[in-house]
Every structure is written in C-alpha cells, then in structure tokens.
C-alpha cells in the first residue's frame, strides 16, 4: 500500500502547486489590475483616508472634511447646505462628483502634481498631510442675497437662476440656481441612503440638480435687444437715431403681427433708439433686425459670446464648470434665404434664440467694462494644506472684445436710461448708477412667461462693480420687474461686500 500512498503525496503536492501557481497569477500578475479595479472599495478607502481640503468663500469654509474614524475616515460636509450647492457640487462615495469638488478634485484630494512635495514630505515624516484648499471668488453677502431673494421671490416662481460677476475681472460674485438641493445626504457614507437621496432629486420634475445659471438656456426675450442695439450702433446708428416703430408690425412673409407688451409702448411711427430700448419697443427692434439682416445680428451675438460651447467657469486655465452655449438659432426659410418673420422674432429674443444667465451677465458686464468681456472664473486661489504657499492665483484675462469703447459707452447710457426712466426701475440703488435691460419671454402656448433682467452697477466714478443676470422661469406677469428688483439687491450686496467702492 505504500506505493499508492507515495503517489497520493505527489498528487497533493500537485494540487498545492496549482493553488500556488494560481495565487501567483492573482497576487502578482493581476495584482495591479485588481488593486485599482473600479469594483475595489479599497481605492475609495485610501481616498477617504486623507483629509480633503476645504473650499472657502471669504474666509469661511463651505466644504469641509470631518474625521469620523469609520472605514471611510473623512466625511465631506457642506455647512451651508443648499445655498452653495451648485458651485461647490458634491463628492459622493459612489458615482461622479460635480461642481468645484469635481473640477478641483486632485488639488482638494492632495493627489495633484502641484502637491507632490507634500507627499514626499509625508513619506519621511510619516504624517498624513491633507489636501489643498480652494478659495472661491464668491461674495458671501451677494450669494446670501441672491439665494434668499430667489427663494422668496414675490411672483412665486419655483425655478430660476441668478449670477453676478465683477465686470472688471470676470470673478463670479454670486451663483444660485433654484430650486437647489442639500448636498449632505448625497455624500453620506451610507451609500444606499445616498443613492436614494440622489434618485429622489433626479426624479424631481423641477430638476434641482441642474445648474440653471450656467448649463441651461431659455429664450432671453427683450434682454436680447442690448445686442440688437450694439449691432445698430456699429452700423452707423446713434442713440438718437430714429427707427420705425408702431403699435403693430407684420413682417413681409408672415401673417403674424408683432405687437408691443402694452399699447402705451411706442405707438408712434418712429422712436429714437434709446427710447426704443428704454420702453422695450418690440415693433422697433423687429424692424431694426430685418433692416440690419440676419448675418449682422448673428455676428453681433457671436461677438458677445453666443455659440461658444467650450466655455468653463473655474480656474482661468483649463477645467471648470461647463457652460452651455447660447444660440441665436435658425432664421432662414426653407431654401436658404433669410426668413424675415424668423429674423423679426429673433430680434426681440424669441423664436429659437436661447441664452444662459451667465451669457446675460457677460453682456451687461461687457457694456459696463467699456466693451471688454473678461473671462468668468470661480477659483481665486489654491492654497497649500498648511495655508502658507499659494499654488495658483487667478490673473484676470480678457475673453473677447464684443464692442468698441464708444459703442459700450452709448449702450451704457441706453441701459442706464432703462433703469432710470423705463422698465427696469425696480433695480435702482441709491448713490450708484444702475443700468440694465428687462426681458419677458414667451415660454410656450398656455404657460407663463419667463422674467429676465440683466444689468450692472457703476459707482460715482463710473467704475463698474457688479454685473448681474436674474432669470425667473415661468414667472408670469411681473416676472421681469421682480427679476430687476432681485438684481438690484444682489448688486447692492456685492457693493457692500466690496467695501462700498
């Protein structure tokens, strides 16, 4: 019986040899693949093992990491809840991050190349340095005001957005999208609860996760007339040039007459350009558009930033929150020739014209800043974990020059006239020169109109301090009036925060 016993011994050795070979396959050959697999929770555990940096606004941290001591050690917490949600975004355990949490992830997590020195130091000291801190351009006061005023708007709108930028630099002062959401449940370490919270938000018909200030477009209505005015001024018109108006005007190829919002607006045959903007004269701008031609209108809109589909708001280098392209849309009839009816409607910001609130603010900012449009940004500075070294400081740069200084000055006067004498009176701030343009856009058959306001604030030296765009989706009657009022409050807050320059 000894011979088979010896052979059984060999068989056992072969079996163990197979185990050994297989373990080599898994733990040596496939080790890297398995270690970094998407299904491997250790990747995350390692990520959560290091304290993520803060995201701060005006010296206050609005995204912080708390030590829970759990398996995933640090819990991301957003003390301000809904107010900063669309800027900060959130960093969930499972699934993709959004906002600054996503765009500045490497620096916050401490894995950025810039922080390589800290990692090397960690190797020697054995300490675990956290990630770097991101300082945002936002103004606490402006953000508070924008959030509260949108929430408590007097026309009962449930959706909307507000964005304010510094016209001289492009620094974003406030960015709110309504309705907002509380990011805290989404980053819960209880992933089931987190995905439940996420699904609830995603199924909400008001789409609270959408960033309406940057990534959603709506018909801009009469705010588009600022671009029309710019096109006219560049084509030889002056503020005082009289343009054809009237109570009603029917474009040559269409039976649909274009009317003014009220009978009292520009019923006379001709009004001055500045008067047309101040009163928001639809018949005047519709005829102006047809006269200038579709190419001229589209070109001017493009020069203000329409059609750009790769703009991001974050750092001034690469990356940032994506911005949807604003569009002027089709204005041609079947066959390729310009359709005057389409052009006429597009000229008053209807038909297929679509604009983001950011684009609205950029138009106002360009006008206020003498024709120079600064690139918008959110990240002011990247600070090392120990807060002593700065790895990045934003250096404002011009994005484009939509109009000349002279045209900008004329537009500024015209927009100031809107707030002082026309439809934008509710945006007025004592001691400051406020300019702007209201907009009321039809949202569709049977639904309430969208209310818009784009505007800017100049101090007594004529220095621009803030440019803002407020949009109230399907706000109905009085929407643009309320939007102008909210815009005024936001700009006032920005002025106060900037030290009342």
């Amino acid at each position: 019986m000894n011979a088979p016993l010896r052979r059984v011994g060999v068989v056992v050795m072969i079996l163990f040899g197979l185990l050994f070979a297989n373990l080599n396959w898994i733990q040596a050959y496939k080790a890297d693949e398995y270690r970094n697999s998407d299904y491997n929770g250790r990747v995350q555990v390692a990520e959560y093992d290091r304290k993520r940096g803060n995201i701060e606004v005006g010296g206050t941290a609005y995204a912080i990491s708390k030590d829970t001591g759990g398996k995933l050690r640090f819990l991301r917490t957003y003390p301000a809840g809904e107010e900063y949600a669309h800027v900060l975004g959130y960093q969930p355990v499972n699934g993709g991050a959004t906002g600054i949490e996503r765009t500045e992830n490497q620096f916050l997590a401490g894995t950025s190349d810039q922080l390589i020195g800290d990692r090397v130091k960690d190797m020697f000291t054995g300490n675990k340095t956290g990630g770097g801190n991101v300082l945002l351009t936002l103004s606490k006061r402006a953000q508070d005001t924008a959030y509260k005023e949108l929430q408590n708007n007097e026309v009962g709108a449930t959706r909307g957005a507000a964005i304010a930028i510094d016209p001289r630099t492009g620094a974003v002062q406030a960015l709110v999208s309504m309705p907002s959401f509380d990011p805290n449940p989404l980053v819960s370490h209880d992933t089931d609860a987190a995905s439940k919270a996420f699904n609830k938000l995603e199924q909400d018909k008001d789409r609270p996760l959408a960033n309406r200030a940057l990534a959603e477009t709506l018909p801009p209505g009469s705010t588009f007339k600022v671009i029309m005015s710019a096109a006219a001024l560049e084509s030889g018109y002056t503020k005082q040039t009289r343009i054809p108006a009237g109570a009603s005007w029917t474009p040559p190829t269409s039976g649909q007459p274009i009317r003014n919002a009220e009978d009292s607006i520009c019923p006379q045959d001709e009004v001055s350009l500045i008067q047309a903007l101040t009163e928001s004269c639809n018949t005047g701008f519709a005829q102006l558009g047809v006269k200038l031609g579709a190419d001229k209108v589209k070109e001017k809109a493009r020069e203000f930033g329409f059609e750009q589909d790769d703009l991001t708001v974050g750092q001034l280098g690469e990356g940032g929150l994506p911005v949807a392209a604003s569009r002027t849309g089709e204005m041609t009839a079947p066959g390729g020739a310009t359709d005057p009816a389409a052009l006429a409607q597009s000229s008053i910001g209807q038909r297929d014209v679509r604009m983001t609130p950011l684009q609205g603010a950029l138009i106002a900012a360009s006008v206020a800043n003498g024709g120079s449009q600064m690139r918008p940004y959110l990240v002011k500075q990247l600070l090392a974990p120990d807060r002593t070294t700065s790895y990045y400081t934003a250096k404002p740069r011009e994005l484009r020059q939509p109009v000349s200084g002279q045209v900008a000055a004329d537009l500024r006067d015209m927009m100031v006239s809107v707030v002082e004498n026309g439809t934008g009176k509710s945006a007025r701030i004592r001691g400051y020169t406020i300019g702007g343009k209201t907009g009321t856009a039809q949202s569709g058959p049977g639904t309430p109109d969208h209310g818009w306001f784009i505007g800017f604030a100049l101090d007594k030296n004529g220095t621009p301090i803030s440019a803002v765009c407020v949009e109230l989706e399907q706000a109905g009657s009085g929407g643009s009036h309320e939007a102008a009022r909210i815009a005024g409050r936001i700009m006032q807050a920005a002025i106060t925060d900037a030290g009342g320059r």
């Binding site: 019986m1 011994g9 197979l18 185990l19 733990q27 040596a28 398995y34 270690r35 299904y39």
Partner: protein
C-alpha cells in the same frame, strides 16, 4: 546516537537499527517548534495592533499566551499518551490555529467603532469565541488520544461510524431550508442561535468506515479484474460500493447545493479505494464519474433548473465573476480583489480592509489574510498545510497495519483536498463552494472536527514510530498489539 526525550532504548532493541531510530520521540523538538509558533502568533497580534490602533496595547500577548497554554497542555498530553507521535503536526496546526484566532480578533477590531477599538475585550467577539472553540477542540483531541490508545480499536465501531456518517451527511439535506441553509448551501443544523456543520464530523466517521470496509474487501477489489488498454479494470459487480458513494455525493451536490462537500466525500473515497487496491483504474473511474456527474449537473442546471440550478449558477459565476460584479459575482470578485490588493508582500497584518469582503471570517478568511500577508505569507501558509498533509501521509507509510495506513492516508489526503477546494474556490481555480478553511475559519464544528482529525493522525503516527519490540520504554496501552481487526483478517507489516 542520542535519544532526545525518552530514556535510552532498551538493550533488546539495539540490534535493530530501524527500531532504535523510531524510538526517538522528539518531544522536545515539538515543544521548541510549538513555542516558535506561539511567538509568531504573538508577533502577528502585536503587528495587528500597531497597524490598527497605532499603538500596541499592554495585553496584546494575552490571546497568544492563552493559546500557548492550551497547546502546551496538549503537548503534555501527547508526551504522556502518545510519546512517539509526529513532532511536526502539533506546532504546524498550532501556528495555523493561532493565525486564525489572531486574524479573527483583527476582524473584530475592524468591525468595532474606532473609539472602542483600544478597549475591545481580549476574549470578546469572533476572535474570543474562536479561542474558546480552540480550547474545546484541543480538549476533544486530547480526549481522543486518551480514549483511543490504539487506532485499530476504531475498527471495532466501523459500521456504527459509517451509519453515523451517512446520517450526519443526510440531516441537513432532509431538514427544511430554514434549519439548514446558510448562504444558499444546506450544510448546517441550526437550532436557535447555534449552528453546527455535521458534514465536518461526517467525513471522519465515513473515512473510518471506508478504511475498515476496504481493508476487508481489498483482495476482491484488487485481484479480480479485466485488462483493457493496459489498465486493470474491476469487475462490474465490484463497482457497487463506488457507485453508491458516487450517488451519495451527487445527492449531496444536488440537495445540499454544495460541490465542495460532494467533491470532498467522493475524492476521499476514491483515494482510499486507490490506496487499498493499488489500482489506477479506480482513480480513472472516479475522476470520470465525478466530472461526468458534475458536467451533467451543469447541463441539467442550464436546461431543467430545479435542484440543479444552484450548481449551474455557481459554475456560471466561476466562469465569469466580473459579468455580474455587484450581485451574483460579488463575493468572488471581492475575494479576488482582496487577494490582488495584497500583492506580493501584503498590506501587513492589520493594514488591510477585511470589512470590504463578505464572509471574510469564514469562507474567505484565506483571502482576508492574504490581503495582509501577501503572496509570500500565503505561500508560507500553504507550505504549513502541505507539511501537515505530508506528515500525515508519512505516518500512513510508516504504520504497520493496513487499517492504519488507509485511515491516516485518507485523513491526510482529505485535509489537503479540503484546503484545495476552499482555497481553489476563493481564488477562482475551481467553482466556489462553502467549505471551511481548516484551522483558520471561524466556527466550532470545523475546528473540532479538524482537531479530531489531527488527534487520529497523532495516534497513528505514534503507533507508526513506536518501537516494535515489546521491550520499548512505554508499554502498549492496550496491552499487546491486536493482530486482527475486528472480525477480519489483516496483515501487520513488520518493518
């Protein structure tokens, strides 16, 4: 010639060289190896605490020392009752058992809230329970050595053991699922909060029966044959017993939903049959029957479903675990990722993330340990297992009666096969089945049954190494060697 632990061999045996060689008991070697194993376990515990708690508490050594006391106790019992037993078995098993307890305590630490970790009671949780089970299992093994002074006395109860074995195998299959099913495998008897795995004990009882049966039948089974393609095949009517066991193991596969247990029983039987008859044909028949049966079950599972569906599902997961990584394949995928994350050297004891791996305290403990000690550590553990198996086979080679040979050979092989089935299962070498990892997995049944197995191996090896002549320093406990097995003629091979 030095004789280590026992008084010098009597003058009567000096003429017989082999007798003198066997007379060395090597108990002191066993003690030193055992102490080394305990030091290793203590070092493991200290490293775990350093990694998990960032400090080594003042009572890190208590579990290792407690285990040490228990094992040294067994060592003393061996000195007294089985002085010639193989000296490598106890230290090797003690090391595995100690690492198991250490890892389970490490798992408790990971499960505990961070602020409670440092004050986690030494005898609490799975680790503490495993420590208690170890004490019970070692007492059981010592009791076995005390009662069974000669392994041949076991043959007296062969039929009783065989019947008990079949009953133990069948109980979970017959019981309603809620009393017997855990993780989709019906291997348990669950009463209240308590569950035992009767199959663990059944394999010992069945093997004792197989050994006895085959010793009686080996003449017939090995001699009557027909020659085909140069291989001697048994006659049709002699195939009866092997077919019965094959059917039982297939029933186990179908009703207990467990390929591993089925493979274990069948492999155990076929190998003892082969050892008894020295016929390769039995191995071939066994392999063909088993793989044919498994493949048939797979085909039936994919078409008919029903009782075969579970096996089909397991095979599908095995073929492509990453096809459904969050549901069906979750366990296996996480097991592979855990092993892979360990890499060559591992994260260090206490440095891994065992809580990410389901069933890490039982089926997947080898993967959980592997994350922390890496390929090198796992290879060492495999070598320790291999050592135990080969020492068991060595005892089988040296023992002088056929029953002892079959018993020790079968048990040693079964232990090796069980390690192969579970470690191969979690590392995707074969389809995953719910076997325990001997001496490592949390659970009393497995620990007790495997310590009993070691008790039998110790007893057989003692019988094998004991000087043959009656003039040895220790008298035969049973008073004179029984030359005959119960009711059957058997040869006693003189060295």
């Amino acid at each position: 010639m030095t004789v280590a632990a026992v008084p010098a061999a009597s003058p009567a045996s000096t003429g017989e060289q082999s007798g003198v060689r066997l007379a060395r008991s090597r108990r002191n070697a066993e003690l030193s190896l055992l102490l080394l194993a305990i030091v290793l376990v203590a070092a493991y515990s200290a490293t775990v605490e350093a990694n998990v708690l960032d400090t080594v508490t003042s009572d890190f050594w208590i579990p290792a020392a407690t285990l040490g006391l228990v094992f040294v106790g067994l060592h003393l019992v061996i000195r007294w009752l089985a002085p010639f037993a193989d000296p490598a078995l106890l230290p090797a098993v003690a090391l595995l058992n100690g690492i198991g307890v250490g890892f389970l305590r490490r798992y408790d630490l990971a499960q505990a809230a961070p602020e409670e970790r440092e004050h986690l009671a030494v005898f609490a949780g799975t680790g503490g329970r495993q420590l208690a089970w170890t004490l019970g299992a070692v007492v059981l093994a010592a009791g076995l050595l005390a009662i069974m002074r000669d392994h041949r006395s076991l043959s007296r109860y062969a039929y009783t053991l065989g019947l008990a074995g079949i009953v133990l195998v069948m109980i979970p299959a017959v019981l309603p699922a809620r009393f017997s099913e855990i993780n989709n495998a019906k291997l348990w008897i669950r009463i209240g909060g308590f569950s035992i795995q009767p199959g663990e004990f059944a394999k010992l009882a069945l093997l004792a029966f197989f050994a006895y049966y085959l010793v009686r039948k080996r003449e017939v089974l090995s001699l009557a044959s027909r020659r085909l393609l140069g291989i001697d095949f048994p006659r049709g009517r002699d195939l009866g017993p092997v077919l019965v066991v094959w059917l039982i193991s297939l029933l186990v596969l179908v009703f207990e939903k467990d390929l591993g247990t089925s493979l274990l029983y069948f492999g155990m039987f076929v190998v003892t049959l082969y050892i008894a008859t020295e016929r390769v044909s039995w191995l071939l028949i066994g392999l063909i029957l088993f793989f044919g049966g498994a493949y048939l079950a797979y085909l039936l599972g994919s078409t008919v479903g029903g009782p075969f569906a579970n096996f089909y599902l397991r095979a599908e997961i095995w073929l492509d675990p990453f096809g459904d990584p969050y549901n069906k394949g979750y366990q296996l995928v996480q097991g592979l990722l855990t092993l892979g994350s360990g890499g060559l050297f591992g994260a260090g004891p206490g440095g891994g993330q065992p809580t990410l791996l389901p069933e890490v305290q039982t089926d997947f403990i080898f993967a959980g340990i592997g994350e922390e000690i890496g390929l090198f550590g796992l290879s060492a553990l495999l070598v320790v297992y291999l050592l135990i198996v080969e020492r068991g086979l060595r005892a089988a080679l040296a023992v002088r009666d056929s029953f002892g040979k079959l018993l020790a050979g079968g048990l040693a092989f079964t232990l090796g096969l069980q390690v192969f089935v579970i470690v191969g299962g979690i590392s995707k070498l074969i389809p995953l089945t719910g076997q325990t990892t001997p001496f490592l997995s949390a659970g009393g049944s497995s620990l007790m049954a495997n310590w009993l197995l070691i008790g039998v191996l110790l007893r057989v090896s003692d019988g094998a190494r004991r000087p043959v002549t009656g003039g040895g320093p220790v008298p035969r406990p049973s008073g004179g060697p029984p030359e005959q097995l119960h009711g059957a003629p058997t040869e006693v091979i003189r060295p």
